[in-house]
């Protein structure tokens, strides 16, 4: 029993239907801030439980749940001759597995008309009850937001039957940094997790014990004495005044019992520890009839490096049959949990590293650079460290001394793996600029990047003119078409001699020096007080 897929429509940042497939075990959703990671976790939890921020959403509907552009389109349409229907939020969860409980949820009542088991959670206009009032409202023409007061929430199985969270055999534990408290101050989520860990029999036993406790309290002779005194003293009326515990059956034990950690109430222990304990509790559920999905939001937020390591070890080693969905913007977490499980999210685009053609390459590469690209808002891809330094300096010179990263542009050296990184960038629609030498064959470079001709997000900058000369190194012709000779072309020998601290007497001497000391030269250029000129293709690359 697993969540195979989620489809989200009109909810928060997702306007068009957003679809995300999940792995059976570990799922790591990576994305920058505002990329919609948390919304995915919230949507999954909402469809499984009907809860948002620990409270039944039914009672807390607001128009802010709706996608802003959906709302705008709808409101604008009301002024026209063809008004749109009131928009609805839809979250669909597709389940995989073959138990009898899942068969009950099976049908073709989903947007794909597929024969599958799952649930549809909808926040929609309550047409049966409010058609009349809505008509009046629209006629009055004063609508400034979606009329959520006429909205209702529904939870249906794919068999089109209205269901509650109890009918869903997949239980979920949401572990986030928010703290939603019950009336008595105990944390909503930890109470739910503990309840879900227990077997039906154990829950009944606790419920019984709790009832007995309350009854024993009421039966205590001291209480009786006190109540007599109150009645006597209160003389409000002829009726008896007494104190007692709340005996109504509505007060379930979960809401009146508190979770303690080493005798300290759960909500008073450190945030990081809370996160670890919730996760461990959720991991420990062993029930057969029910599956558990653990939704973990940005575990890096409250944890020290070593605690984070521990948690990650637990997650990777103990998850067993459980499905785990983690959102993170820490490349450390993502890298530790393995690139195979990585789902990169960006502006509604989803890329699984495991599905890229270059997945083998990225799997072997230490993941930091991969994630740097995935998380960057713009990137300049260069071949090596020296290119990186020169491009950075060129950028600073052109942008009032600000580093590219300070303007959201990451300069990443990718060695010879340009095409692999471009595949990732293209899939995520990340604006990237490739800065490359023509290596003496501009036509070959053009052919290599032909696939990105006219791409709205990928620009390839290289020198279209091939330069040749008489210089030879160890019997082979010198390559005049790399960065260093090009820099020399853009500047005079004397300028470079000053910047590099050299005293070359001929251009060829300087060419050979720069060829042999690439990184030192780049460092010198980067750190120099004197601005130099840059080859044309570099200028194009850093132009906004």
């Amino acid at each position: 029993m697993k969540i195979a897929k989620v489809k989200i429509t009109n909810f928060k940042c997702y306007e068009e239907t957003f679809t995300l497939n999940f792995n059976e075990g570990l799922n790591v959703i990576v994305g920058t801030n505002e990329s919609g990671k948390t919304t995915i976790l919230e949507a999954v939890y909402l469809a499984l439980t009907g809860l948002l921020h620990g409270r039944p959403l039914k009672n807390d509907l607001t128009s802010y749940l709706f996608n802003l552009s959906t709302q705008t389109k709808y409101l604008q349409s009301l002024e026209t001759a063809s008004p749109l229907q009131p928009p609805a939020i839809t979250i669909e969860l597709f389940f995989s597995g073959s138990t009898s409980e899942l068969a009950e949820l099976e049908g073709d009542g989903n947007s794909e008309k597929a024969r599958c088991s799952g649930v549809v959670y909808r926040i929609e206009f309550d047409e049966d009850n409010f058609r009349g009032p809505y008509e009046e409202l629209v006629k009055a023409g004063a609508l400034r937001s979606i009329p959520v007061e006429y909205y209702t929430t529904t939870m249906r199985s794919f068999a089109r039957k209205g269901i509650t969270a109890r009918n869903i055999p997949i239980k979920s534990a949401l572990i986030d940094s928010s703290s939603t408290r019950m009336q008595n101050g105990s944390d909503v989520y930890v109470s739910r997790i503990i309840r879900d860990v227990l077997e039906e029999k154990e829950r009944a036993a606790i419920s019984q014990a709790h009832r007995k406790l309350k009854e024993a309290f009421v039966a205590d002779p001291n209480l009786k004495l006190i109540n007599e005194r109150i009645t006597h003293a209160a003389k409000i009326s002829q009726k008896a005044v007494s104190i007692s515990v709340d005996l109504s059956s509505q007060t379930a034990w979960e809401s009146s019992l508190m979770t303690y950690i080493d005798l300290i109430p759960f909500q008073y222990i450190g945030k990081g520890e809370q996160c670890v304990i919730k996760t461990k509790l959720a991991l420990s559920a062993k029930k057969n009839a029910e599956a558990t999905a653990i939704l973990l939001e940005e575990p890096e937020n409250h944890l020290s490096h070593s605690r984070l390591n521990e948690l990650i070890a637990d997650l990777t080693q103990q998850h067993g049959q459980k499905q785990i969905i983690i959102s993170t913007h820490s490349s450390f977490v993502a890298n530790k949990l393995g690139l195979d499980h990585l789902i990169v999210l960006r502006g509604g685009e989803v890329v699984r590293i495991s599905e890229l053609k270059s997945s083998d390459f990225f799997r072997k590469l230490a993941g930091y650079d991969t994630l740097r690209l995935a998380l960057a808002s713009r990137a300049i891809l260069v071949e090596g460290d020296s290119d990186e330094l020169v491009v950075q300096r060129a950028y600073m010179d052109a942008h009032d001394g600000r580093l590219p990263i300070q303007n959201g542009t990451d300069v990443i050296s990718v060695g010879t793996a340009f095409l692999r990184f471009l595949e990732l960038a293209e899939a995520l629609k990340i604006p990237v600029v490739v800065v490359t030498d023509n290596d003496g064959d501009a036509e070959a470079v053009k052919r290599k990047y032909a696939a990105y001709d006219g791409s709205p997000t990928v620009r390839v900058c290289y020198d279209p003119d091939v330069e040749t000369g008489p210089l030879e190194v160890k019997g082979k012709p010198f390559n005049y078409n790399t960065l260093e000779p090009q820099i020399l072309n853009a500047n005079s020998r004397s300028v470079l001699n000053e910047v590099l601290g050299t005293s070359a007497e001929t251009d060829d001497q300087l060419r050979l020096h720069m060829r042999a000391n690439k990184t030192e030269c780049a460092l010198a250029i980067f750190g120099s007080d004197r601005k130099i000129e840059y080859p044309d293709y570099i200028k194009r690359a850093i132009a906004p």
Partner: protein, 392 residues
């Protein structure tokens, strides 16, 4: 795997419902559906669970045949047939979905292709007589997904009063029999008192032809065991009542009275009586029987004493019963060869088998010899029929 399917042919008063409930309680590790045609019988099944074990077990679902067809037959896989939501069901007594009446006054229905109007009323409720047909359509359109899903949701499907099912209902039973689920049906072919379907499909198996249907229409490899012994003893009726009532269905094996001490302790001289019209009010006064009648307007009913229609009394038991027969029933008493319409026969059978102590047929009788098993009521004889009338 084809389930271990079985149909149990039950005698009136043999404890069908109790048997089903006990069977259901025996299943602990799988999901059980118990379904039946009427709401009153559904309530009876629920009540029987509370009587026997104090609760309905978590793995048992009780629902009427119609609810079952809507929620598990239509809604899960309606997508291949129609898109609008089902807004419940409307019970129809006559042919439904009529487009117009032709010159002869015969209703011409909307064609089947017009799903929205053939199967549904304008409020979006499905016509009760076409519900089963719609289920078959959904199942076919989804490549058998409907039945496949049901068999995975419920590993055991128990059907009470299976004789009430007809038409496309039988197709659904057949499909369930072919599925992985185990199908256990209980019913009495003698008690088909309602005409629930107006369609022509499988008409020859209406009126209690369920056994013949299972024999003739299922492929050989789908085995349904036909059990005529487990429930052929009546705990309610005496042997005389069994003997007389079984005569209505000579082709079926006769029912017998249960001989255990528990069943027989109240029955002194359980009898089948002919009650002359002149003695009617005297008898009512002394014995206080339940009057069973054809319909509310039937002549001869004492409005001041309790009375009930034949059909309504199905499933109920009374100590003493007086039957107000229709003309064809009277003729049958005189001559068992006389023709009876299937429904009349069924209702008469139901009426005769309601009694625990005595059943009287109110009709005058000439000088001729009484039929076998009958005796004539004489004033003063009521003393031997002790006990007030009670119903259950």
């Amino acid at each position: 795997m084809i389930g271990d399917n079985r149909i149990v042919i039950a005698a009136a008063g043999s404890g069908k419902t109790t048997y089903l409930v006990e069977e259901a309680c025996r299943i602990v590790d799988a999901k059980v559906l118990i379904t039946t045609y009427t709401e009153s019988n559904e309530a009876e099944i629920r009540q029987r669970f509370f009587d026997l074990v104090g609760h309905v077990p978590a793995n048992v679902t009780i629902m009427t045949w119609f609810s079952f067809l809507i929620s598990h037959g239509v809604m899960p896989f309606q997508g291949g047939v129609f898109q609008f939501p089902v807004r419940g069901m409307v019970l129809v007594q006559a042919a439904s979905g009529i487009r117009y009446k032709n010159r002869m006054g015969i209703g011409v229905p909307w064609p089947e292709q017009d799903t929205g109007r053939h199967f549904f009323d304008p409020a979006g409720r499905v016509y009760s007589d076409k519900l089963a047909k719609l289920v078959i359509r959904c199942n076919d359109a989804s490549g058998g997904a409907v039945v496949d899903r049901i068999a995975r949701v419920f590993q055991h499907i128990l059907v009470d009063e299976v004789q009430d099912l007809a038409g496309c209902d039988l197709d659904i039973l057949a499909a369930l029999a072919r599925s992985r689920a185990r199908l256990l049906m209980v019913g009495d072919p003698r008690q088909v008192t309602y005409l629930t379907h107006h369609e022509k499909r499988l008409k020859k198996y209406a009126d209690g032809g369920i056994v013949a249907f299972l024999r003739n229409e299922l492929p050989r490899k789908v085995h349904v065991e036909i059990d005529e012994t487990t429930l052929n003893r009546s705990h309610r009726n005496s042997s005389v009542i069994c003997e007389v009532s079984s005569r209505l269905y000579p082709s079926l094996s006769a029912t017998r009275a249960c001989e255990c001490v528990g069943c027989r302790k109240n029955v002194g001289s359980a009898t089948v009586l002919i009650l002359r019209k002149d003695d009617y009010s005297h008898y009512l006064d002394r014995v206080r029987p339940m009057q069973l009648r054809d319909k509310v307007t039937s002549p001869g009913v004492d409005p001041n004493s309790p009375s009930m229609n034949f059909g309504e009394s199905k499933g109920r038991g009374f100590d003493n019963v007086v039957v107000l027969p229709t003309e064809p029933m009277r003729l049958w008493i005189a001559d068992p060869g006389a023709a009876l319409k299937p429904q009349t026969r069924a209702r008469f059978y139901v009426a005769l088998t309601r009694a625990r102590l005595s059943v009287a047929v109110a009709m005058d009788w000439g000088d001729g010899r009484l039929p076998e098993g009958f005796s004539l009521y004489e004033r003063g004889a009521e003393a031997t029929m002790a006990g007030p009338t009670g119903g259950r």
